[in-house]
Subunit: 350 residues, 2 copies
Amino acid sequence: MADSTPKIQPATTGELDERKAAILNAVVAEHIDTAQPVGSNSVSTNEGVNVSSATVRSEMVSLEREGFLVQPHTSAGRIPTDKGYRYFVDHLGRGVLPHTQHSTLANFFSHLRGEMEEVLTQTSQMLNEMSNYTSVIIAPSHASATVRSVQVVDLGPRRCVVVAILSDGEAVRRTLELPFEITPEQVSEASTQIASLLFGNTLEQRVEVPSRDTPVATLVRDAIASLYRSTPTFEEDRVYIGGSAKVADTFDTVEAVRNVLGLLEKEIVVVNLLEDILQQGLSVAIGSEHGYEPLSTAAVVVAPVTVDGEVTGAVGLLGPTRMNYPEALATAQLVSEQLGQRLGDLIGER
Amino acid sequence: MADSTPKIQPATTGELDERKAAILNAVVAEHIDTAQPVGSNSVSTNEGVNVSSATVRSEMVSLEREGFLVQPHTSAGRIPTDKGYRYFVDHLGRGVLPHTQHSTLANFFSHLRGEMEEVLTQTSQMLNEMSNYTSVIIAPSHASATVRSVQVVDLGPRRCVVVAILSDGEAVRRTLELPFEITPEQVSEASTQIASLLFGNTLEQRVEVPSRDTPVATLVRDAIASLYRSTPTFEEDRVYIGGSAKVADTFDTVEAVRNVLGLLEKEIVVVNLLEDILQQGLSVAIGSEHGYEPLSTAAVVVAPVTVDGEVTGAVGLLGPTRMNYPEALATAQLVSEQLGQRLGDLIGER
DNA sequence: ATTTGGCAGTCGAGTCTACCGAGTGCCAAG
DNA sequence: CTTGGCACTCGGTAGACTCGACTGCCAAAT
């Protein structure tokens, strides 16, 4: 509205004319670097901005009116708003990681061995060390894995454990308390019955269980019910966090640190947060864009992890809004690709 | 050495005469309360100390010489040293928790349901909320649990998963990559062979495996080897931490917060820390008593968790050296008892 | 019509000073 | 041995002042 001049505007810069964009860019870049308010002088000496500080100043008042910048107080420089960061991120040329990072990453993945948990734990740690931000990895859900085997094991008086093994290699274990004693034969019969009932189904597709009243039938029914009762652990265990200690350094108020740590503790919330962001088609959520109050001073960079062409998880980096977006984006991107491949190998073809 | 008067000293107060003890006590108590250096005046008005501030002062220089107190600077009050806290803790009358806490605790445990992981997660959270310190719970180790069942499940081309179920209900799962295709019959034969080889042993007691070279024998050997290869996850999974966000509030320097969080991330270290402290027969480790550098400004209160008369785990509270020891001790104590009982029920008789 | 240099004005941050008061150590009297 | 009294120390706070990094505005230049 402030800019109604009928001038040819280059399409590449979107809503802002080229000069404003350059100025905004310079402000964001410098603020990310120095954490200080940025003044018109340092902007005007910036390459890419070839106007005097006075001109920069007048452009900055306009950028402030439009909500891209704010002044902490009169007679201070400007700092970007969430909207300012958003513009910066949206008009970012895909940054390329330095070669050294590329190769340490390749090296890391080539030396990575072990079960999925180890792979993810290690990756999240590496990601944290590499980016210096707190890293979050969401592992593939087991929701679409089908049952390959079920076994009931007698553990002692009226107590047994039922274990289902899923097609992705995961084991789901539940303990059962029985209202009666039971013989080994009955246990093994229940095992085979349950297995044949559930085989090939996911744990989400509920199958009909014949409701007879023999001990075996009761055991079968109880066992299946317990497998269906999804414990919170099931979703929580998908979260791997690397470097929560970094929160103390990257955020500058105690308040923020407490909030972020508090949120990271609630692992289900973390899963939802990342999935929400991806759902919105974003790769960065800045400030309060994601709607999670405690993270209003934070930014989250997310990259989906795809296995066999399907989005099954996510890789995220969490930092203050003035985080190094180009680098963080590139890192998350790269790691998520590599991780997707690796998980594909681990899970195998279905 | 400073105190060589041949006076009858009451045995109850140990190395310090009664008056010094009372003064030290007052200083510690007030410092815990206010986080400020404590001066002679406020001590002399304290009940239990019926001498003038001048006398208190002269006693305080003596306490300082003996290493129980320090002055942050001349003309400031005194604060306790680690040694001062140690004395305070060692001569503490067993505090009793207020009735309200007692009953919320009972209420909590009576409503607690589910598998071990849930029980421990919930307990650690409750403990944190109740004490306002970061809580740590170490779950019973599976080291002494014996194998009750082993099953190999074919997952697809040259890939299978082996699951062992232990007497405590835990399942140990490993994925295997095979150098050859294998038939369902061979898989089930391997299953029974492995089961009969391992049954009744712990995963620590290695059994001899016949080294023939048939596909089944290879599978058996590989599977057993993979079960023996203990993943780090096995020990790490014993740690449950509640309220790491509280670290940001309870410690006052960023440095300390970073250190503590950094240590909490390394779960194996946490296990060792608590077990070390218990091994030393302590229930509180103050400052650098435990030898873990990053925690030199912290104190850890620990209570063993006993199941069937055996120490199998621990309950801990982590705070600054000026934490509320009486309350923390009482809380940890109580929770560990209740938890021990509950875990006994969960694991059942062997 | 824009851009620019110049200029007055604002305000945070740092320095210096003075002062207050909590707390000490010491000592002489009780 | 204890106590009140006294001189002294030193951190913290408040006020005055300066410095300098900014801004906004404006008139001259392009």
